[in-house]
């Protein structure tokens, strides 16, 4: 059991590719993605209907150390500022295997 940070990012679906590029570039090798999620926020309702991913969000979760967070957090902040979304960090422990 190792202490770890759980970073959760929710952004517009169209930003997913950009986000994955950032994580790759910053050396983050592991993450989990949940696609096609909905929501509501400052930038209106994401109802998930429609013929495109314009009204859809995506959830990305990264379990990592504080040092790793520092590698990508500024880039993520920039995305959030531009296209909305949120980023939460929670303390967790990791069951080592």
């Amino acid at each position: 059991m190792t202490p770890i940070k759980k970073v959760e990012i929710i952004v517009d679906s169209v930003e997913l590719e950009k986000l994955k590029l950032i994580l790759d570039k910053r050396g983050i090798k592991s993450y989990t993605i949940i696609k096609n999620i909905q929501g509501k926020g400052d930038r209106g309702v994401k109802s998930g209907d429609g013929l495109t991913d314009v009204f859809n969000n995506v959830y990305v979760m990264i379990a990592c150390t504080d040092e790793e967070i520092n590698l990508f957090v500024e880039d993520v902040r920039k995305i959030l500022r531009k296209l909305g979304g949120i980023c939460l960090i929670t303390d967790a422990v990791w069951i080592k295997h």
Partner: protein, 323 residues
């Protein structure tokens, strides 16, 4: 006005299914077409219309007329975003103006497809190369829209901008790519290919279109609620500008000397607004623009307006001028 045209259009099952979907939202029925079925129908329609257009093109070949029409289409999709941008800029932000103008410069494949069903009710045909014209009109409007937004936002240096990205998004987005690709496959395989695919691309076509328009009725009506944000100016814009663009289209068709069916199709291309390719592109290229404006405008107003009122009206004008 020839009321039979209106009736013809109204009694077309696809249009009636559109009304049914719309009604479902008004009476708060919980009817819904779950994801990704709407995307499936949309991919099917693009593939089928592209392929059928290609087979037609294989018959007719290219001619001076074809090239003139294709050029007209491209010019239209460049001019419309420019003139509408300057109208819009007086009332909304530069980014919204750019995104909305791109929306109206581009086209709606479903409007085009619904027009083919309308034509077939009137026993009129249209030329396959108009499918190519449709595909060619999606991209320029996107590029123009982004360029306008960048030019009038000069101050803010957006280091993220990449021409490569923009051109890929404009010319290789899923819907443009699928229509053009299916068109080329239709050209290559011609009648032999058409025969083997025809039950899929032709016979069940109207049924698939009806199912899809059922969903479009739901979607378009849901979006109407969002129009409160858009306000009276943008709501009016979403009806008036398509009408003006339709007149441009009719004039162009008349000058080129197209047949009635082709004239209606080019008119519909001019009059229609995008709600698939352009919103997706704008979200990436002009992220500051507000999709809750341009999607409700094109999907909630312009699309129903075109398929319900536009089609018979445009046809009436064409009948009047051509006879």
């Amino acid at each position: 006005m020839d009321s039979s045209l209106v009736l013809y259009n109204f009694l077309n099952p696809p249009i009636l299914f559109f009304f049914l979907g719309s009604l479902a939202v008004f009476v708060k029925s919980d009817l819904e077409i779950p994801q990704p079925l709407p995307k499936f129908f949309s991919l099917y329609l693009l593939l089928a219309i592209g392929f059928k257009g290609g087979v037609e093109l294989n018959h007719s070949g290219l001619s001076t007329e074809v090239i003139i029409v294709l050029l007209t289409a491209i010019i239209g999709s460049v001019v419309v975003p420019i003139y509408t941008f300057f109208i819009l800029k007086r009332k909304v932000s530069v980014d919204d103006a750019a995104a909305i103008s791109a929306t109206y410069g581009s086209i709606s494949a479903v409007t085009f497809i619904t027009a083919t069903a309308f034509l077939s009710k009137l026993n009129l045909g249209f030329s396959g190369y108009l499918v190519a014209a449709m595909a060619l009109m999606e991209s320029p409007a996107i590029v123009i829209g982004v360029l306008l937004s960048r030019y009038y936002n000069k101050s803010e240096a957006d280091n993220d901008f990449s021409w490569k990205e923009l051109l890929r998004e404009a010319f290789l987005n899923g819907s443009v790519f699928l229509i053009l690709g299916s068109l080329i496959i239709g050209v290559l395989t011609g009648d032999r290919g058409a025969e083997s695919l025809s039950p899929f691309t032709d016979e069940i076509f109207k049924g698939m279109l009806s199912f899809f328009l059922l969903d479009m009725g739901i979607l378009a009506t849901k979006r109407i609620k969002d129009l409160r944000k858009a306000g009276i100016f943008l709501t009016g814009f979403a009806i008036v500008i398509p009408l003006i663009n339709a007149l441009f289209g009719i004039a162009a068709a008349y000058l080129i000397g197209l047949g009635k069916g082709d004239a209606l199709m080019i008119t519909v291309l001019f009059a229609s607004a995008s709600y698939i390719a352009v919103p997706a592109a704008m979200r990436l290229s002009i992220p500051q623009s507000n999709p809750s404006l341009y999607v409700p405008m094109s999907l909630g107003i312009t699309f129903p307006f075109n398929i319900i009122i536009g089609l018979p009206v445009y046809m009436y004008i064409i009948n009047f001028l051509w006879n």
